[in-house]
């Protein structure tokens, strides 16, 4: 009785794991096959990976999209971490009643659906396009600005700051350090894992962002990876091998980040619900 329960646990978890992994396997295997083999249901690796890759380079501006995505994601991550951690630290270390009210108002922004903001946001950026062309429609800035601070990230840093040893702050103050240098020279180095987790979460969501870039990035030179993949995928006569290698390449950065920093990622996810 007990043994059979064990068996079904392993069987169930194996099936779920297989279903979770299979689309990845299929995508990687198919990226090495010819388009006809992909539709033919071939499940063995082929020899057409380089050919698919070359076709992708010829028909799309892959490098440009990769560079655009990288620029946007890295800039967003660095700025988001700085701004949100500063705020999370500020809300937790210097408490005051009025600031707590503001914090709760900020949390309300998590309830605002993006669909309700996208039209006014689009008009905002369209309106400044003439006077401030560097931040108007079709620019990196217009993609980055609306996502650079989120209430979730501030909340995340505030929660983590609760665990930060406050004696270190006092020690810094006694040594005569300014509040800003305490933050820069004591807080940031001590909270490395928190920053790592926040970086992973922010990088992933920025790299994978689709709807807002779809609206605001209109010319071919500004396309990001999800936009490129979406355009390839909606073609009428799809070259499956080529599209799947594009998807593999587009997934690689986030998959790598996840595998290299899995521990911090899980810690970050759990830290946010404690």
């Amino acid at each position: 009785m007990h043994k059979s329960k064990r068996f079904f646990t392993y069987l169930f978890l194996s099936i779920i794991s297989f279903v979770s992994i299979f689309p990845f396997l299929w995508m990687v295997i198919s990226s090495t096959n010819k388009s006809v083999d992909v539709t033919g249901g071939r499940l063995l690796p082929g020899t057409h990976m380089m050919e698919n890759f070359r076709k992708l380079l010829d028909t799309t501006d892959l490098q440009l999209s990769l560079v655009n995505s990288a620029k946007i994601s890295i800039t967003t991550t660095v700025l988001a971490l700085l701004i949100a951690s500063l705020a999370g630290y500020g809300f937790e270390v210097f408490k005051s009643r009025s600031k707590d009210i503001v914090f709760n108002i900020l949390l309300l922004s998590m309830m605002i659906p993006f669909a309700a903001m996208m039209v006014p946001l689009y008009r905002m950026f369209a309106n400044v396009s003439d006077t401030l062309p560097w931040m108007g429609i079709d620019t990196m800035t217009s993609v980055i600005l609306p996502t650079v601070t989120t209430a979730f990230l501030i909340f995340f840093f505030r929660q983590s700051t609760k665990m930060f040893p406050k004696e270190l702050l006092e020690a810094g103050r006694i040594d005569g350090l300014s509040e800003l240098s305490i933050y820069l020279r004591i807080f940031i180095p001590t909270m490395k894992t928190t920053y790592a987790a926040a970086a992973i979460i922010t990088f992933m969501s920025s790299w994978n962002n689709y709807l807002w870039p779809l609206i605001v990035l209109q010319s071919p030179e500004t396309k990001t990876m999800p936009l490129l993949i979406s355009i390839l995928g909606s073609g009428y006569a799809p070259d499956f091998g080529m599209i799947l290698i594009a998807i593999v390449i587009g997934t690689l950065p986030t998959a790598l980040v996840f595998f290299l920093m899995q521990k911090q990622f899980v810690a970050g996810m759990t830290g946010s619900v404690k």
């Binding site: 646990t9 978890l13 779920i16 794991s17 979770s20 689309p23 299929w26 992909v38 539709t39 249901g41 701004i83 500063l86 705020a87 500020g90 270390v93 210097f94 005051s96 600031k99 900020l106 922004s109 659906p113 993006f114 669909a115 309700a116 996208m118 039209v119 006014p120 689009y122 008009r123 905002m124 369209a126 600005l145 650079v148 601070t149 989120t150 509040e179 992933m204 994978n208 689709y210 709807l211 609206i215 990876m225 999800p226 993949i229 979406s230 390839l232 995928g233 799809p238 499956f240 799947l244 998807i247 997934t251 986030t254 998959a255 996840f258 899995q262 899980v266 996810m269 759990t270 619900v273």
Partner: protein, 291 residues
């Protein structure tokens, strides 16, 4: 200046940038959308027309199709996903289980992909001559290929399967971390009292996880009400609007049809109202004041 006052001012300077940015990029657009929802016109030529858009909303068949579809996803997918994630996390929390790390990583892996990338992979897997149909035909489970993407009913099922695949692992992580915080002695005591595994699950695990279950159901509800990327890339809302979501309808109204920003804003406020009502309802159902 007193030390206390100085500290308050320093505190404000630390949070100021975030507060300003969130007000500009979240609250200001919210208010703008509310104002626009009373305006009509194409592109930037908007003029006040009072409640016209709201009247139009109640006689707009396509809006109701989008709402109906979105609620079908919500009512079918969110419960399936939460039960599945809970079940998996309880199995994975077993101390004696082997290969725990592998199972956890494998089940979480879908969260790494971009919504666009996985949507396109699913579109191909579930195509008429795709691998899923080939597999089912070979196993003689079906005689003719299922129209996963071309049939109005199956297209919805495909979207539900896709979202479940992508998000179950994400919710599982929250449950796992909450389970690890439960003191094992509670279960030991229940075992001594002769409580079965099922009773322990409903008597201990579920009540203790209630705040997290509430949290995940609210975030999943908000996510589903905003569903866009998958539908856009798997079915484009078709066949015949049978998978169209509210977000996609707003996108179409603003950027695909004749740029009716005013009416799009009105539709977008329907999502705001639904999120508020549903979150309130979930709080009430959970009946937990501290959650």
């Amino acid at each position: 200046m007193s030390i206390r006052r100085k500290s308050v001012l320093t505190g404000w300077s630390f949070v100021l940038l975030s507060v300003v940015l969130i007000f500009i990029f979240y609250f200001y657009p919210m208010i703008q959308a509310l104002i626009m929802s009373f305006q009509t016109g194409t592109g930037s030529n908007l003029e006040f027309t009072g409640l016209d858009n709201y009247k139009r909303l109640f006689s707009d068949a396509m809006f109701f199709t989008a709402v109906k579809n979105t609620f079908i996803y919500l009512l079918v997918q969110v419960p399936i996903m939460i039960v599945l994630a809970l079940f998996i996390s309880v199995l994975l929390n077993d101390k004696k289980l082997k290969f725990k790390g592998f199972f956890r990583t494998a089940i979480f892996l879908p969260c790494v992909t971009s919504l666009v990338a996985y949507a396109i992979v699913f579109k191909y897997l579930f195509a008429g001559n795709g691998l899923v149909n080939t597999f089912l035909l070979n196993l003689h489970l079906i005689d003719t290929p299922i129209g996963w993407i071309t049939d109005p009913f199956w297209a919805k099922i495909t979207i539900v399967i896709a979202i479940t695949w992508r998000w179950t692992g994400y919710n599982m992580i929250f449950y796992l971390s909450a389970l690890q915080n439960i003191d094992n002695s509670i279960y030991e005591a229940a075992k001594i009292d002769g409580a079965s595994a099922v009773r322990q699950f409903f008597g201990i695990t579920i009540p203790l996880l209630k705040p997290i279950i509430l949290f995940t159901s609210i975030t999943s509800t908000i996510g589903t009400l905003q569903l866009f990327d998958e539908v856009m890339n798997i079915t484009k809302g078709g066949p015949g609007n049978s998978t169209l979501t509210i977000s996609q309808y707003i996108y179409n109204l603003s950027f695909k049809y004749s740029a009716d920003f005013g009416y799009a804003a009105t539709v977008s406020y329907s999502i705001v109202i639904m999120i508020i009502l549903l979150s309130f309802l979930q709080f009430k159902v959970a009946g937990d004041k501290n959650a």
